[in-house]
């Protein structure tokens, strides 16, 4: 009986230590794409992420894409807002200068809108990657 209980008891995995870097890296990485990698001395990866995500977002703006705001209206607008929000500082700056107010009147503007949403979503992935590096789950 006692042996059965012991056998069924799972060995608890050691908790990941919460370091300062595991908090700072994702936060900085969200504000500036790739910065979460750069502050952990992953220079090339950080630079590539910055260029890739930054270029996608800027191209989206130049293609007269539309930036979504937190208006709580249509469900698709909310999803678009969540995607855009992932771009962090670029999204905040764009809102501040009143950019991204295109009406999506033609196909390329629609592509631009999707470019900016995808840039934000890719930045979410980059933030998660920076966190995994910070806790030592990834090199």
């Amino acid at each position: 009986m006692a042996n059965q209980t012991t056998a069924k008891t799972k060995v608890a995995e050691p908790a990941q230590p919460v370091s300062m870097m595991s908090v700072i890296a994702p936060a900085v990485g969200w504000l500036i794409p790739g910065a979460g990698h750069i502050i952990q001395k992953r220079w090339i990866r950080g630079a590539l992420l910055l260029v890739s995500i930054g270029t996608l977002f800027v191209l989206g703006l130049l293609m007269q894409g539309h930036i979504y705001k937190a208006n709580g209206g249509d469900i698709l607008d909310i999803l678009g807002f969540i995607g855009d929000l992932g771009a962090g500082g670029m999204y905040i700056v764009t809102l501040a200068v009143n950019g991204g107010q295109g009406a999506i009147a033609f196909a390329i503007a629609d592509y631009g809108t999707k470019f900016m949403i995808v840039a934000g979503l890719l930045n979410f992935i980059a933030v998660a990657d920076a966190y995994h590096i910070a806790i030592g789950k990834k090199q």
């Binding site: 990866r45 590539l48 992420l49 890739s52 996608l56 191209l59 293609m63 390329i108 995808v118 980059a126």
Partner: protein, 60 residues
């Protein structure tokens, strides 16, 4: 300032940058990152080309 990309160049740019991010974030070693990035790029662009030709065939 605005920019007008063709449909193909938009797909190319999208595939290129999304593949770079996927490669970096989904693999551990540099070699695996490169291989996965190239694989994603081929799938993105190849998928767009195949879908384009499929729609052309359906339209005929």
């Amino acid at each position: 300032m605005t920019i007008q990309l063709t449909h193909f160049s938009a797909a190319f740019v999208f595939a290129l940058f999304a593949s770079i991010v996927f490669g970096i974030t989904h693999r551990e070693t540099t070699r695996d990152m490169l291989r996965y990035g190239v694989y994603c790029f081929a799938m993105f662009l190849g998928g767009a080309l195949v879908a384009g030709w499929a729609m052309w065939l359906v339209r005929r």
